[in-house]
């Protein structure tokens, strides 16, 4: 393993826990979030949503609503210039084939899920808009719906769309699974069920749109993808250059703001009324209708040899896409590629399917399909270890992928795999075992590791661009299309620019997330942003630096290669200096630009047909392991997490404090998934549409998360960093389930692990 500490070059700014510029603004509430915006003459918008999961719209009459005082406009499907939204893999300009999906902006003739938007209102006040929504006359004829993927795929099931209900299928077949299983020392069979969950960002979907000079429809909103300006332009049937999306600093995203949310409505209403329009979803509305995480049924048969080596995995995955495809096919692809875990498995079969139902639609969420599989493969791993009497760390060590190994999909692992190290360090970080406080309280420990892709699928030809320029006084401007979801995305770019160009961090200002004014950098999703826009800024800064040093060299006498940039100066090897402002004046004099626009292209690959071929799918992966100590009340089933540690190899931590924060935040979100979060839907009706019923962890529900940052020095991001946005959300549910089995012998295979489920597994309920 590369010893990162020994070989790391001396870095000045990268690798330090610098204070983020946005943190100062946020503690003073100086950050203007999307809803903190008002313009003169602004209207307020509200949406009429279907109360039924499957129905025909028999009658829709908006006359009474439109005639109400203070109502500017009421719109339905026929008022939308092009009522189709294509949810491409966002940000891509390359064709994406079966990954493309469509849905309507406003329902046309029928609704397929509860909460589906049917009509739009803009009025002088929010109260009037909601009154008008209530005054819209709509008659539905309820039609038969289908509410589980199993039912959806059964013969004769009602078709959610014109086609059959099977939305996508991916298959991997490698080696002879049947033979390997028959020769295995143990075969562990398990069926695992994961639940529907919501991103539950604290900032609801919000935005304001207005028509700016030259007819540019400008939408200022909370979004992870500013490239949706193209989708809005298509809906409005205006040229793409007439729509501008300004992304604000988000109050949380987690994948829930990856699809189009309020943009299309805002653009439409601004265009129709000619006035500024604001839309802020209520929490109820967001919990009801925003796309969620795919629930899965995961069936595993895992065969292992006596020494713990996995000899075969036979895996069947079935996911619920809800009523509209959104990014379901892509999510399923992530599950398929990661289904066998970060392990060397010679024989693997994966059969993965996702089906339409009339449940709430599902789409992107932190982890994106590679998260649900962790619960299954790490529960299986633990059960294999128990069956063979091998300890949890040892069984992972024996099976961990190594550089040069091949994934089931045929991709060769090209970078260091830190699985053994992160397992050992997470386990050790739990510290001394807590004693049981009373006879009915049992303490146990569990380990779970994972791997999460970072960066886009390689055949999508991902790229990101950035512009960096000096002002005449030596202060620096960075412009990059990268939305900041709160993880310090914008701040990291400043750190990288500061490192390369030697500009003091406080002399850098960064502008992000504006589709008209910042070079596009793609989505803040897929743990790709540090990798992509970080590399874009790195590349651009290096190119700018070379450009400037070519001018500096004759000024200082000597070679450009021997010059450094530090503390706002150019420095020679023998310590002579040139103030940056002086260099910039010389650049102006000789006509050399003080700025540069750079593009970083991720290494691309050819499309892989998972059913027949094999090859590289993702650029790379982030490997991690979590360890949990729990206390189980064996009289009530209540589980308390006593201690928690999370270790990830991040390649290099650009900002160690931000990295720790991502690990801790992701771990707690994962604990919520494991212990308490569930969107309860019965026959398509959502029963958890408030924060009183949809429960996310509070400070009293979780212990300190001991974040262990491992730096192998290998990663494809800037300074060898790896993506860390998503990886920490994967392991917690399995770590908890494994710890509960250690404490009580009971294995829970359904999420969330509620006290009642534990009580049942302990036999308390007869």
């Amino acid at each position: 393993m590369t010893d990162a500490v020994a070989t790391r070059e001396a870095l000045r700014v990268v690798g330090r826990p610098v204070v983020r510029h946005d943190a100062r603004d946020k503690v003073a509430a100086a950050t203007a979030y999307a809803a903190d915006w008002a313009l003169p003459g602004m209207l307020h918008a509200a949406v009429l949503r279907s109360p039924y999961p499957s129905a025909r719209i028999v009658r829709l009459d908006t006359k009474r609503a439109a005639a109400m005082a203070g109502v500017a406009v009421v719109l339905t499907a026929r008022d939308v210039p092009r009522n189709t939204l294509s949810t491409d893999v966002p940000g891509q300009t390359t064709a994406v084939g079966p990954l493309r999906a469509t849905l309507h902006v406003l329902a046309e003739g029928r609704v397929r899920h509860q909460g589906e938007p049917v009509a739009l209102v803009a009025a002088e006040t929010l109260e009037l808009a909601r009154d008008a929504v209530e005054a819209i006359e709509v008659e539905y004829e309820v039609t038969p719906g289908v509410f589980t993927p199993e039912a959806a795929l059964a013969p004769g099931a009602p078709a959610v769309h014109g086609t059959g209900n099977l939305l996508a299928e991916w298959r991997i077949a490698r080696g002879d699974v049947a033979r390997a299983l028959s020769g295995a020392k143990v075969v562990v069979e398990g069926e695992y069920t994961t639940q529907l969950v919501d991103a539950a960002y604290l900032e609801p979907e919000s935005g304001v749109a207005w028509i700016d000079s030259d007819g540019v429809i400008t939408i200022r909103l909370s979004t992870q993808v500013i490239e949706h300006f193209r989708d809005v332009a298509e809906v409005l049937q205006v040229p793409h250059n007439r729509v501008r999306v300004i992304g604000t600093y988000l109050g949380g995203g987690f994948g829930g703001k990856e699809d189009v949310t309020v943009e299309a409505y805002l653009g439409l209403l601004a265009l129709k009324t000619g006035r500024p329009v604001k839309m802020v979803w209520t929490r109820q509305e967001s919990l009801l209708s925003r796309a969620k995480r795919h629930p899965y049924r995961l069936r595993y048969r895992t065969g292992a040899a006596a020494n713990g080596e996995i000899v075969a995995q036979q895996i069947e995955l079935l996911a619920d896409a809800g009523a509209y495809a959104y990014l379901s096919a892509l999510v399923l692809l992530y599950s398929t590629v990661t289904a066998a875990g970060p392990y060397r498995v010679p024989a693997v079969e994966v059969d993965a399917r996702v089906a339409y139902t009339n449940n709430p639609p599902t789409s992107a969420m932190r982890g994106f399909g590679a998260m649900q599989t962790v619960f299954a493969y790490e529960s299986q791993m633990d059960r294999v270890a128990r069956a063979l009497n091998i300890d949890p760390v040892a069984v992972r060590r024996v099976n961990a992928l190594r550089r040069g190994d091949t994934l089931p999909v045929g991709q060769v692992i090209e970078t260091h795999v830190a699985i053994p190290e992160v397992c050992e360090r997470a386990w050790a970080a739990l510290g001394p075992r807590a004693p049981a406080r009373a006879p009915h309280l049992k303490v146990g420990r569990g380990l779970a590791c994972n791997f999460q892709p970072y960066g886009r699928i390689v055949w999508l030809h991902d790229w990101a661009s950035a512009w960096i320029g000096f002002e005449m006084d030596g202060s620096l401007v960075v412009r990059c299309g990268c939305p900041d979801v709160g993880g310090g995305q914008a701040s990291s770019l400043c750190q990288i620019a500061s490192e390369v160009l030697g500009v003091t961090l406080t002399r850098i200002s960064v502008h992000v997330s504006d589709s008209a004014l910042t070079p596009l950098a793609g989505t803040t999703t897929a743990s790709r942003q540090l990798y992509m826009s970080g590399n874009a800024v790195l590349k651009t800064a290096r190119e700018l630096r070379a450009q400037l040093l070519r001018v500096a060299a004759p000024m200082l006498g000597g070679d450009a290669d021997e010059l450094d940039m530090d503390e706002d100066r150019v420095v020679t090897a023998d310590g002579r200096t040139l103030a940056i402002a002086d260099l910039l004046r010389e650049c102006a004099r000789v006509g050399v630009p003080r700025s540069h626009l750079g593009v970083y292209h991720a290494p691309a690959g050819e499309p892989v047909d998972l059913a027949t071929g094999s090859g590289k799918v993702f650029p790379d992966y982030t490997f991690g392991a979590h360890a949990a100590e729990v206390e189980v009340d064996t009289e009530t089933g209540v589980v308390r997490v006593l201690a928690y540690a999370a270790a990830h190899d991040v390649g290099r931590a650009i900002n160690p404090q931000s990295v720790e924060g991502q690990i801790q935040g992701g771990a707690v979100q994962g604990l919520g998934y494991g212990l308490m979060e569930e969107v309860v839907v019965e026959d398509g009706i959502n029963l958890t549409t408030s924060f009183a019923t949809y429960l996310i962890p509070t400070a009293a529900d979780v212990p300190d998360v001991r974040a262990v940052v491992v730096e192998s020095g290998e990663g494809l991001g800037p300074f060898n960093a790896r993506g860390i946005g998503e990886p920490p959300i994967g392991p917690p549910a399995a770590a908890i389930a494994n710890a509960i089995e250690d404490a009580t012998g009971a294995r829970i295979t359904r999420l969330p692990i509620t006290a009642e489920r534990v009580a049942r597994a302990l036999g308390l309920l007869g």
């Binding site: 909601r130 509070t698 006290a755």
Partner: protein
């Protein structure tokens, strides 16, 4: 929200007059922690909202071995009051479990009782205490026993023109007390709550026991069977367990989308035993 008429009368008589005039088109605003979300979501649309926070109903009074708590006493006052700590510390322990710190700043005793959430702590506590609610209407005043006040989910005996002005209970110094609660998440409202008060005679036997549950039915449940099983007995672990079992066996809790009736019943038994155990330890002066 939607348009309603907001009025803030200074006197109880004015409030009662408004209730007589508007009946069930009016709603009382006390702490607002339950009412305002209902108005936000338009689950109810009263024409008039009567803010009673200006009425002099915020006192805690001790008199003749009885403790009187005004309807506008806030949950945090229950936590912080010396009189309650001395005379009925059960109220302080229960108050600490209610909601979050913001709810405890504004939420009121009267509001909790009138709202009658079957899982709420105070209705169960008042049931255990055998408290008596003071009710005012335009036609006069009456007293209703807590054990008769709650008639269903979010339903009480209150007529549309009646309001709770306070609640009175025996001051119970010398009693041991405990509230045990299980919730889906820390600090959440209870799935099941068990309330126990126990006093011991000079021989160390149970002289009086008062037990009630929240979250196991459509209203708080007075566990008469458990009380009978315990009176006169030595409070051994076995006796307490039998009492808890008697309480549990009398229950038939409903299931909802999140928690089954079978689980509620099981947990009620466990929490009752734990509440009785702690109450006895307190009665013995051990904690």
């Amino acid at each position: 929200m939607y348009p309603f008429e907001y009025v803030a009368p200074d006197t109880l008589d004015t409030v009662l007059g408004l209730l007589r005039e508007h009946g069930d088109e009016a709603k009382i605003l006390a702490g607002g922690q339950s009412l305002i979300p209902i108005l936000h979501y338009r689950l109810a649309k009263p024409r008039v909202v009567i803010d009673i926070n200006g009425l002099p109903l915020g006192d805690i009074v001790v008199e003749n071995g009885r403790l009187g708590v005004g309807a506008l006493v806030r949950y945090h006052q229950l936590e912080e009051s010396d009189a309650i700590a001395r005379r009925c510390p059960l109220l302080a322990e229960a108050a600490r479990l209610i909601g979050n710190v913001r709810v405890r700043t504004l939420g009121t005793v009267g509001g909790s009782l009138a709202h009658a959430d079957p899982a709420a702590e105070l209705p169960a506590v008042m049931t255990a205490l055998d408290a008596r609610l003071a009710v005012a209407s335009p036609s006069g005043r009456r007293t209703v026993a807590a054990r008769e006040f709650f008639t269903g989910p979010l339903t009480t005996v209150l007529a549309p023109d009646e309001i709770v002005t306070g609640v009175e209970m025996d001051a119970v110094p010398g009693y041991g007390w405990a509230v045990e609660e299980l919730s889906r998440r820390a600090g959440d409202f209870a799935v099941v709550a068990a309330v126990a008060l126990v006093s011991l005679d000079r021989r160390g036997r149970v002289d009086d026991a008062r037990v009630a549950f929240g979250g196991v039915a459509d209203r708080p449940v007075h566990a008469r069977g458990a009380e009978d099983a315990l009176r006169g007995r030595e409070p051994t672990a076995e006796a307490l367990a039998r009492g808890a079992q008697a309480a549990r066996d009398a229950l038939n809790p409903p299931s909802d989308a999140f928690v089954s009736g079978v689980y509620r019943r099981h947990v009620a038994g466990v929490l009752c035993r734990r509440a009785l155990t702690r109450a006895v330890e307190r009665a013995l002066g051990r904690t």
